[in-house]
Subunit: 124 residues, 2 copies
DNA sequence: GAAAAGATGCTTATGAATATCAAGAAACAG
DNA sequence: CTGTTTCTTGATATTCATAAGCATCTTTTC
């Protein structure tokens, strides 16, 4: 329940203060290594999970890939995954239809949309 | 490249001829066990992958869950995941906006949409 | 049928994510 | 400050989903 101030936790938080794009746990680890060379991956996972719980971060699940994490304070948006260069782009605005026409009784709390294709750099 | 007729492969194909909903590899294994008691999970994975390659099946990736598989001949649709009972419902029609307003150069090949919330049976 | 080409099933390997636990570091009391 | 308590860390082991390796068994082909 408490929340201690540790340098590893700060380092991980700091990474997301500079970076917007969704990062994988390993990418977080690599970046944090610059500051804390012997940081363990388990600590990264723990920090990420905690931060998701406290809604500092949001989990980004792209089809067929393992989880990435992005700041929770970003404006609502969706993602574009380029299958050629494997990069993920943030897309402004919501791409969901307004009139969903769901059957009675379904209550939507969240939605995920991922577009897949090729980005401007990988046209073809 | 060739494609042999084996009873295990037929059994797996037969399951999907009766069932529409997305099934996990383990669910496929369980159902197939009724017909082929000593079927191995590896064979299920191989069959599912082959069937995805030949476009008999489609992989369904819901956020935070492992892959499920559904028939590829189903009309384009999306999925609703109830977080209470954990069931997955097919939703008719496409829920993507028509005017995506993407930056120039992005070419969309596919899109995935998952709605999350509670279903009629789990209202609350 | 018998040989050749593949598929199966078991076991082992890989990769992501979590659990375990001793040792280290913050918070707290004095 | 300094000791005590309690949480966090890091290394390792574990779990789970999936793929790979390989000897054996089945289809296909002749």
């Amino acid at each position: 329940m408490p929340q201690r101030h540790t340098k590893q936790r700060s380092a991980i938080e700091h990474i997301f203060s500079r970076i917007e794009g969704p990062l994988s746990p390993n990418e977080v680890l690599e970046r944090a290594h610059e500051e804390i060379p012997n940081l363990g991956i388990a600590t990264v996972y723990r920090a990420l999970n905690d931060m998701v719980d406290e809604e500092t971060l949001r989990r980004v699940d792209l089809p067929g890939q393992s989880s990435r994490y992005e700041r929770a304070d970003l404006k609502h948006h969706h993602h574009f995954h380029c299958t050629k260069c494997d990069r993920v782009f943030d897309l402004d605005g919501c791409l969901l239809k307004h009139d969903l026409g769901l059957p009675k009784g379904f209550v939507v709390k969240e939605h995920d949309i991922t577009l897949t294709g090729s980005c401007p750099d990988c046209k073809g």
